[in-house]
């Protein structure tokens, strides 16, 4: 815990307002992410973990509101006080996000190389040629074989795992200090998931980025993260290093979740 605090979230409240009334999806969540750290935000569907991610990126669903008392500080800046232009500049450059569904997060009618290059062009790169070259280099870094040729392909020509690598390339293009990964492997097959997890681990070591890993899967948490925060019904019920979470959970809900995780007898 010697690394400086990169992201500090205090009393985050996210409310969804609809005709049926207001629902508090996130109900007073506080946590910090240190530079270079890989932290998991774990919970079951509907616990509010994705709402936290969207609030951090300030990409809100219609009807969603961040509570007045909430504070999000990133790298010393008050995120909730930034205007939209400053936030746009931050997104993709300093904080980026990897989504769950690589199929829908990519533009189907744009070459994947161009989509990765676009990130560089948005954040100051002037030359299209240079942006393209950087995109190819980035695709290569994410383990896409023959990246120079693949960059010319469209999303539907790539496998699910390959598409997820493209999304990772887009997220890491600007070497952000923080990557928010929202269930990035949940839509993938287990063997592909294993490869993507290995890739994320390698890239994290290489770049020193911090990762906020949002997932429902404790197996993935154990593989990748050093600390885990367990969420339930809009609140964080436990926040501890993974070894404590897995071997001496303090909260009964954490223990219950862990008991339910399917595991191979051979791995016990």
């Amino acid at each position: 815990m010697t690394a400086p605090v990169l992201l500090d979230v205090r009393d985050l409240v996210v409310t969804y307002v609809s005709d049926a009334g207001a629902v508090r999806a996130v109900d007073g969540v506080s946590f910090a992410v240190h530079a270079g750290e890989t932290v998991a935000l774990v919970g079951e569907s509907g616990c509010g973990k994705t709402s936290v991610a969207f609030a951090l990126m300030r990409v809100m669903a219609p009807g969603a509101r961040i509570g007045a008392g909430s504070r999000i500080t990133f790298d010393g800046a008050d995120l909730l006080a930034l205007d939209e232009r400053a936030m746009c500049d931050l997104r993709g450059r300093k904080i980026s996000m990897i989504f769950q569904e690589p199929a829908s997060a990519l533009n189907p009618v744009m070459k994947v190389g161009a989509q990765v290059a676009e990130v560089a062009l948005l954040h100051g790169e002037r030359s299209k040629r240079a942006a393209w070259d950087r995109a190819v280099a980035m695709l290569d870094r994410t383990g896409i074989a023959d990246a120079a040729r693949r960059a010319h392909q469209y999303p539907h020509e790539l496998s699910g795992g390959m598409r997820q690598r493209v999304l990772i390339a887009m997220a890491l293009m600007m070497r952000p200090a923080l990557v928010i990964a929202d269930e990035p492997t949940s839509a993938l097959d287990v063997t592909v998931q294993a490869q993507i997890l290995d890739l994320l681990r390698d890239l994290q070591r290489e770049t020193g980025m911090a990762v906020l890993f949002i997932t429902h899967d404790f197996g993935v948490v154990a593989e990748l993260c050093s600390r885990a925060m367990v969420m339930r019904a809009g609140r964080i019920v436990e926040d501890a290093p993974v070894d404590r979470i897995f071997h001496a959970p303090a909260d009964p809900y954490t223990a219950e979740l862990l008991r339910a995780v399917p595991r191979l007898t051979a791995d016990r």
Partner: protein, 276 residues
């Protein structure tokens, strides 16, 4: 084997990948390629593989929800694939299915009671108050309340909806149920509960399951035998204990090694399968 309930032999199913302008298939993909296995009465055969391996197509071909290109399926000595429409419909009382996604497998406009009752009426197993009683009994058996019959699917959580889908399958008192990724879409705590329910129901009713799954860890407890599918073929089929303790095929090994271990102290060696 005298107690074989289902026998699948040389099952093959081809999809048209490309068609000519007149609709004739020009190129085909073998989604299921020469698949054979037997399922004994009362056992659970787990059919495991990754997306696109043909496991779901196999399950649907056995139930004849799709017409396979070639091969044979017998159910209790009956040749399923050559049955005419009406005998096939009657046979469906004995073989049922539970799908993966309980949000799409229930008609959003139909009350739960009518959904569960549909099969009872189709097979004239009961009518009037007797049918109501049977619906109520089945709902209670899967852990719901009899009063839930009057509700619509959107009033339930994912796990509860999956219980409704199970009730629909059980209401006609089948002998065989295809569980097509029936717990994959559920949260882990709910998944464990639904798995326990399925095992309980199997003991109570002597059911035979074909459990289709993509995660070997999920089916370990429930499976009697496991068949591993890869690109349309069964690459390994063995008793569960043997398959988990000493997998023979390279792909099975890779699949087992890819299951993440929910324990940060354990670092598992990853085995990569290169496709040969």
């Amino acid at each position: 084997m005298s107690d074989t309930l289902i026998s699948v032999s040389h099952l093959t199913h081809e999809f048209a990948a490309r068609r000519t302008m007149f609709g004739a298939p020009q190129a085909t993909i073998r989604a299921v390629n020469d698949v054979s296995f037997d399922i004994a009465r009362g056992e659970t055969l787990a059919l495991v593989g990754e997306s696109g391996c043909g496991k779901t197509t196999t399950g649907r071909a056995i139930l004849r929800l799709i017409e396979p290109t070639s091969g044979h399926v017998t159910f209790d000595g009956i040749d399923v694939l050559t049955l005419q429409r009406e005998p096939l419909r009657r046979l469906r009382r004995r073989m049922q299915v539970v799908f993966q996604d309980p949000h799409t497998s229930l008609d959003p406009r139909m009350r739960v009671g009518r959904t569960v009752r549909e099969g009872i009426e189709a097979h004239e197993l009961a009518e009037g108050a007797e049918a109501d009683a049977r619906v109520a009994r089945t709902l209670e058996e899967v852990g719901l309340r009899a009063s839930d019959a009057a509700k619509l699917p959107h009033e339930f959580s994912g796990g509860q909806r999956q219980r409704i889908a199970i009730a629909r399958a059980l209401a006609v008192e089948p002998e065989f149920v295809v569980l097509d990724e029936a717990v994959s879409a559920l949260d882990v705590t709910v998944q464990a509960q639904v798995l326990a329910l399925l095992m309980q129901l199997q003991r109570d009713r002597g059911l035979t399951y074909l459990f289709i799954a993509h995660n070997l860890a999920v089916v370990e407890r429930i499976a009697t035998r496991v068949a591993v599918m890869y690109r349309g073929r069964i690459v390994e089929i063995a008793a569960a204990a043997a398959l988990y303790s000493s997998p023979q095929h390279g792909y099975t090994k890779a699949l087992l090694s890819a299951v993440p271990v929910p324990d940060p102290r354990v670092k598992k060696k990853r085995i990569v399968w290169d496709g040969n």
